[in-house]
Structure formats: C-alpha cells, structure tokens
C-alpha cells in the first residue's frame, strides 16, 4: 500500500457500479442465492493459487520468526524502542486520520452540495495530491525548510497527501445520496447542523469509515516520507534494521507487530461499519429514480470557503509542484555518479507494466469466483483479499527476500521477484475494480447467450469480457500507477545495479542533492498522472451512467 494514490480503490467498489444496475444486481443476487452453483474446478483452482500466494508471505514471516525462536523475539519486542515506535506510530496515525477526515468531509460537502464557485476545477484539484507520491511531497517540504520535520512535519505532509483517500469515497457517496432525505429532515423541524449530523452523516458513514481505513493503512505502510522527515516509525526502524544491520530477527519481529497493527485497523473498521450497516443503504433508496440534488447557497461564507479551498490546494498541490519545478531549474548539485534518466524510466515502465498485467490476470479468476459463485470458499477468499491489504509493502518485500534467500536463491534480486512482489501487493487493488465491473455483467446475460447456442467459453468471450473490458483496463491502470510510485519494496528488492525512477530519486535525495533528485520526481509525477487521468475519466463515466 505504499503507493498511496491507489489505495483509493478499495472503497471505490461502490463507485462505478452505482446507479442503474442496482436492480439487475439485486435480481442476479437473488437468483444466485436460491441457486448455489458449483464453480468450475479450473476457476476454483486458479483462484486458490492466487489466494494462497497472497497469504504465503505472512507464512514466510512467521517461519522466519519461528526460526529465530520465541525468547529472542520477545526480548526484541519488549525493548523501550518498541514502545516509543508504537507511541509514535499510533499518535501520528490518529492525528493524520482525524485531520484528513475533517478536511475531506468539509470539502466534499462544499463541492457536492453547495453552490461553491468553480466546482469542476475543485473536483480535480482535490484529487491531484493522489498523483504526487508522499515521498515527493515530504522531500519538497523538507527542502523548503528544515523546520518541517518530526511529528509536526509528518502530520502536515501526510494529511495534505492522504486526505483525497477519504474525499473521493465521501464525495461519491454524497453524489449518490438523495438530498430529499435532508429536506425531509429539515421539514420535520430539524436544524441545519442537526440534520447534517443525523441524516447526511449516516449516509456517508460507510464511505467515511472506509476512507479512514485507507488512510490508516497507508500511514502504517508509509516509509519514504517519514525517513525524509526524520520521524521514527515501525517502517523506518524495520528498514534500518534490515539494510544497515541486516538484522533479520529484529526486522521480522517488528514486521509481525506492524502487520498486527494493520489487522487491528482492518478489524476495527469491519466491526464499526458492521454496526452501522443497517444505515449503509440509505443512499440506495434513491437509485431507482432520478437523484434530486439541491445545492445550498454559501452566501456570505462564499469568500472564506473559497479562501480555504485555495489555501488547501496551494499547500497540497502548489507547494510540491512548484518546489519540484524550482529544483529542476537549478543546476545539478551532486557528486554521485549520474543515473541515466531514460534507463530508470524504462525500468520503471517495464516493472510497473508487467506488474499491472500480472496482478490483473491473477485477480480475474478470484473476482469471477467472488462475484459469480459466492460460497464458503468465496467468502474465505474475499477475507484473504481484504486482509492482504493490511500487509505493508516493506513487510511483504522482506518476506519475499527471506523466501528467496532460503528457498529460491536464484530468484534473489531479479526483476521477476520484484514484479511478483508488486503483483502480490496490488492484487487486492485490481480485485476491487474487477469486482465492480463484473457485477455490471450479470450472469443472466451469459445464460441468455448460452441458451442462444454459445458454449460457456464463447459466452464469456462474447458477452462478459467486452462488458468488463473497461474494468480490466482500470484495474491495470490502478496497479501500474501504484507500482510507479512504489518506493519501499523497490528499495529492498531492486536488482543490483538497476535503478527505477523512485530508487534514483531516493539515492540523490538521501544525499541532499535536491536538484538532481527533482529530475526523477517530475517524471514520476508525469507518469503517475496519465493513468490517474484515465481513471478519473472512467469514474466520471460511471457517474454519468448512474
């Protein structure tokens, strides 16, 4: 989940599939509820293979820790250091999640429900921080002023970088939620703020919680920005133990603790959103008819609100972009050997492209099983996919290093291992958009095709695949984007002598060669923006259809 932008998607599953198809989906769901069909064995086999490889890394980690022995592990974990890491991590995560949630809720409501001037522009600007990796944001702020560091710096940088992860699902939920409910509440004598709290907030609650979970997971997995801002968390410590001391026992013990924290976050969100699940459907009441959205006048508040939006965009997009450009215009300031930009870019494109294809191909059978054949196995695989989101990229990379060193040495430091790691890391991401689009191709259509004389494979090819093609493209784009901005796992697994844009940037940045590093940062942002724009258009189209 290092590629923060992309983490958006796990909650996007309700985005493109919203609206018109709801009825069809409900029908399809009721048909499959009555008739639990056995999935074909080939599908089950492929899905099992993928899901096993999703949880294998955790098994490697446990295996590694077990080899070290419990006494040593517990001694490593019961240090003062662990406690201070825990306090740092939890403190930071809580502060950033709260801040990001407040910013996201306020901006989303203004953009979707008021007559704020320039809504089209704000809609794009609010999402732009997703195209800027957090390590780039961290580098720009810290190059501006050494005062930006430690807890305060980390809260500033991460809140500005991550609030879109909450903004996106909340804005989508607001767009789908019928404002009639709000008006009814007002008509029943409820005040403006009470109506917001009692009606609107419950409507966006699942989206809000989902977004907060994404921010929390991204925080637990983030490495680059914290290293730059000199703020010590689990990830930075694990990285140090691993690279400097090659202290595998300590790294794996801390990794297990970090995974535990992620699982706690996942479990917490699950419990909290379950409790409110009865209210989660308030939005879909409206799906059958045309949505009525009444926009509120901001009145005298217009100018202050606009000022707030300008300040937010300036801090979250303006500062990083202008700083990178500033450094780019300065002469190179490094004594390190130059890394060819083209070579690094080609490596990045090849690795990320292969990962996009591999992850999408791997996610397809799982998505098909989950959407079409919900059984006990499907539920199990869904949980595995869900839980594997909680595996930070650094931990996953370490697990695969342990695996390669102990079981498959020839694979160690090969591009193949890096691509496989990316794929394992981003299969949950691909799964989300694939599932959403598969749900739009109801099995009824495939059955109709078969009664018209198509073999099962022909029905899949002629009906389902064309319908889910945009979803396949979107999921590949998501993974590609995530892999381009991935830093942590790449640093651990990059083949010796090779460089990607991210590792090249990192090398110079670590050396305080801000001008040299900026060349790579600009290309990363440019590459990340392309699939980002494609995705934006895809989601917009999904909105129009709904």
């Amino acid at each position: 989940m290092n590629g923060s932008p992309l983490a958006t998607a796990p909650r996007l599953d309700d985005l493109p599939s919203s609206g018109g198809t709801t009825g069809g989906e409900a029908q399809a769901a009721s048909a499959t509820r009555v008739i639990a069909r056995r999935p074909p064995w080939l599908l089950t086999g492929l899905a099992t293979l993928v899901c096993v490889s999703l949880i294998l890394p955790v098994a490697f980690l446990v295996w590694q820790a077990a080899g070290v022995g419990w006494p040593l592990i517990s001694r490593l974990l019961l240090r003062r250091l662990t406690l201070s890491l825990l306090i740092n991590t939890v403190e930071l995560t809580l502060a950033v999640t709260t801040g990001a949630a407040l910013i996201a809720l306020g901006t989303a409501w203004c953009v979707e429900r008021t007559r704020l001037p320039g809504r089209r522009v704000w809609r794009v600007l609010m999402l732009l921080p997703l195209a800027i990796p957090d390590f780039v944001t961290g580098y720009t702020w810290s190059s501006l002023s050494p005062a930006v560091h430690g807890l305060g710096g980390a809260v500033l940088v991460m809140t500005l970088g991550l609030y879109p992860l909450i903004y996106l699902p909340v804005a989508a939920a607001l767009r789908r939620a019928d404002s009639t409910l709000y008006e009814v509440a007002r008509g029943l004598g409820t005040g403006r703020f009470a109506a917001f709290r009692r009606v609107v907030l419950p409507q966006v609650r699942p989206a809000l919680l989902g977004g907060c979970l994404l921010v929390t997971l991204a925080m637990l997995a983030e490495f680059g920005a914290f290293e730059i801002l000199r703020f010590q968390t689990f990830t930075t410590e694990i990285f140090t133990e691993f690279t400097l001391g090659f202290n595998a026992p300590a790294a794996s013990a801390l990794s297990l603790l970090l995974v535990l924290l992620s699982l706690l976050a996942l479990g917490g969100e699950h419990v909290v959103s379950r409790r409110g699940s009865g209210r989660a459907n308030t939005g879909s009441l409206a799906s059958a008819r045309v949505l009525r959205v009444h926009r509120y006048r901001l009145g005298r508040a217009t100018l202050p609100v606009l000022g707030g939006f300008v300040a937010l965009a300036g801090l979250s997009v303006g500062v990083p972009v202008s700083t990178v450009i500033y450094w780019r215009l300065r002469p190179p300031d490094t004594t390190l050997p130059p890394i060819p930009l083209a070579g690094a870019a080609v490596n990045t494109l090849v690795y990320a492209g292969s990962a996009a294809i591999l992850a999408t191909v791997a996610a397809f059978p799982v998505a098909l099983l989950l959407v079409r054949h919900r059984g006990r196995l499907g539920t199990l695989y869904e949980r595995i996919g869900y839980l594997s989101q909680g595996l930070p990229g650094l931990v996953l990379a370490l697990a695969l290093v342990f695996f390669a060193i102990h079981a498959a040495y020839p694979l160690y430091q090969t591009p193949e291992l890096l691509v496989v790691t990316y794929a394992i890391m981003f299969v949950p991401l691909a799964l989300v958009s694939l599932r959403a689009s598969l749900a739009q191709a109801p099995p009824r259509l495939e059955e109709t095709a078969r009664s018209l004389g198509c073999r099962p494979t022909a029905a899949l090819r002629r009906v389902t695949l064309p319908l889910v093609a945009p979803g396949i493209a979107a999921s590949a784009a998501l993974v590609f984007l995530a892999a381009v901005v991935e830093l942590t796992a790449t640093l651990v697994l990059i083949p010796t002598g090779a460089n990607t844009l991210a590792t090249a940037f990192w090398g110079y940045q670590q050396n305080a060669s801000y001008a040299s590093a900026s060349r790579y940062a600009i290309v990363i942002v440019a590459i990340a923006a392309i699939p980002g724009c494609l995705l934006q258009r895809w989601f917009d189209r999904g909105q129009e259809q709904s």
Binding site: R450, L452, V463
Partner: protein
C-alpha cells in the same frame, strides 16, 4: 406432435422441495401459459427446461429429444430453446442488429437473417441503436427477434411483459403473439398475471406449490377450475354453499344447472362457483333474490358491485347473507340501494369438504 414434454419432474434443494412432480405437454405450434404466484416454482421449472438447473427426478423432452432425464443432460447451448427473459437481457455492448445476429454462426451474421428478424418484429429502423436507446417494449421485441434468429424449437417467455407500463403491455403482448403465431413457433409463457395468461395462451397450466393443478383451455379453466382456490386465482369468484340433488344445484340465488362434462359430485353439500358476470341485477320484487348494494368499484369500462342478498326466510332489508360480487357494464347502483339478483348460465360445483 409434442413441442415440449415434462414428465414426473421433481426438484429439491437441500431441505426444500420446489417442484413435486410436474407433468406438462405443449403441442407444437401452440402457446401455453404457465400461471403461478411468486414462490410457486415457475423460475425453477423454467431454469430446468433451459438447462441451467438439473432435475432431481423426471424428464424434459424438447421436440422429441430428451434433454434431461435426471441422469444425462444436454447442455443449454445445444437445447435450441430461445429464451426471452424478463427485461429482455439484451447485450448492452452490442447494437440491436448485433444482438439479433448474436446466435448466428459467424458467416451468417452479416447476412440478411438479422434484418428479416427485425422486420418481423417491426423494428427495422432501429438496427443501429444500442439497447439503452430503446423503450422497454422495443427491448422485448428485440429479445424476441434474437431468440427467433436462432431458429429454436421452443421459445420460453419469462414474464416478458411484467416490467412494461400497463398501457404498453397489451400492445407489446399482441405484437409478440402475432409474431409467434405467424412463425408457428411453439412457445411457453411464464407469468403471474391471470389476465395475460387467459387472453394470450391456447392452454393455461396452473402451477401451485410445485405441482400443475390444472392445464386447460382458458375458457374451460375459467368456467370449471379444478378447485375453489384455483377459481379465485384465475378471476373474481363468488363461492357459495349449495345442495346438489343429482340434477341441479340449489343456492341462496336459486337453482342452477352445472356445466356439462364436469365431474359430477355425489348428491349432498357442495361449494358452487358463480362468476360476477353471471349475476344480473334486476328490479327487486320480481322473482329475483332481493339484495342490498354495499359498495361499488367503478372501473370505467365496467363496475364491480358488492351486494348482500337477503336469504329467503330472513327479514328483508337485513342484508345478512354472504357478500357477492356482481359485474355490471353500465349504470352501477349506489350503495344502499335495493336490487334483485338472477343468475344466468351454468355453474361449477365441488363436493364440500367433509364436516363443513
């Protein structure tokens, strides 16, 4: 020649039997409606015929070929059954013409057959449109054209008109039926709408609790239903207690003959079916049974009048008899008015359950 034959068909899911012995024969070139309330097993029966479910017992034969004998099954794509699903299920990524061409072998897709099929359903002008650009009725007709293009031995229509507006429903229905008759296609129409079943089909099979209760021509079914429950299911029914003496039935409304060909019950207490259309309103005081109007439901083309007859022997004007429904074509009386009731035509009767 039998187009579709279902024999002794059983289907159960773990713990719940859904179909409990279905026997049904559909003659080639005719249209049979399967009429059932929701939960009666319609969908399951349909899915077994199309091949998306397996029979637990029994067999399904299409056009002389056994497609499912509960051991061996013919795959859905080889059954040659054209399915017209509830909302058409047109492929959203294909144009109208490509949808109709879908079942054809690749080399025929560019040929004239899709256009012929579209002409048949009267939609030649819409070939280049996409499904979302069509009205609900047009989508249904495209779905029919697509099913016909595959030259099926049997067309299955799964509640095809239920999602249409009331006004549109009748016209789309008659268009679809005209095409089916013109092509001489054997068809099965699954529906929960009794008006639709009675008006559209050559035969109507009543499905209830996983069994075919009765399969008959619409008139026969309406006049002589198999039991009181079926009588009420296919239309408004006045069910009265009566006495059968071997030649005639006596009820509070007088003495009536029963339909010829009806299985005659043993003399004794019987339940009698009198349809609202059979009761005529007359001036009170003649030899008609006196009654009081309790309510009038005006429908425009006709009206349904609720009346309470005063059984002979009771005090006139009390109106303490069982409430009856009377259909009148014009001049519906006001509630409270006194009328006389006469019955025309024969009635249906079943032996009353013992002890009642």
């Amino acid at each position: 020649m039998t187009g579709l034959s279902v024999a002794g068909l059983h289907k159960s899911y773990p713990g719940t039997p859904v179909l409990r012995g279905i026997d049904l024969d559909v003659k080639s070139g005719t249209l049979t409606a399967i009429l059932g309330a929701s939960g009666s097993g319609k969908t399951t029966l349909l899915r077994i015929i199309t091949g998306f479910e397996e029979a637990s017992h029994g067999s399904v034969t299409v056009d002389g070929t056994v497609v499912d004998d509960s051991r061996h099954r013919v795959r859905p794509e080889h059954r040659r059954i054209g399915l017209v699903p509830q909302d058409g299920a047109l492929f959203p990524h294909l144009t109208v013409r490509a949808n109709v061409a879908f079942p054809l072998p690749r080399r025929d897709r560019r040929g004239s057959r899709p256009d012929e099929m579209l002409e048949l359903v009267g939609l030649s002008g819409l070939a280049a449109r996409y499904p979302h650009q069509l009205s609900g009725g047009q989508q249904q007709r495209v779905a029919l054209a697509r099913a016909l293009a595959s030259q099926p031995s049997l067309i299955l229509l799964d509640e095809p008109f239920s999602s249409l507006d009331a006004g549109l429903r009748a016209s789309v229905r008659s268009d679809v039926l005209a095409v089916l008759r013109a092509t001489g296609t054997t068809a099965v129409l699954v529906t929960h709408d009794q008006d639709e079943a009675l008006s559209a089909a050559d035969h109507v099979a009543i499905l209830r609790d996983g069994r075919i209760i009765q399969a008959d021509a619409p008139r026969q079914l309406y006049q002589c239903p198999a039991d009181p429950q079926t009588a009420a299911f296919v239309g408004t029914a006045n069910l009265l207690e009566g006495t059968w003496d071997g030649t005639r039935v006596t009820t509070t409304l007088g003495r009536h003959g029963i339909y010829a060909g009806l299985e005659t019950p043993q003399p004794g207490q019987v339940t009698v079916l009198i349809r609202p259309e059979q009761i005529c309103l007359a001036q009170p005081g003649t030899d008609a049974v006196p009654a009081r109007v309790t309510a009038t439901h005006y429908h425009g083309h006709d009206a349904l009048v609720a009346v309470r007859p005063d059984p002979p022997g009771s005090q006139a004007g009390n109106g303490d008899g069982k409430e009856l429904r009377v259909r009148v074509s014009s001049d519906a009386p006001e509630p409270g008015q006194f009328v006389g009731l006469t019955v025309r035509g024969s009635v249906a009767a079943w032996a009353s359950p013992a002890g009642s």
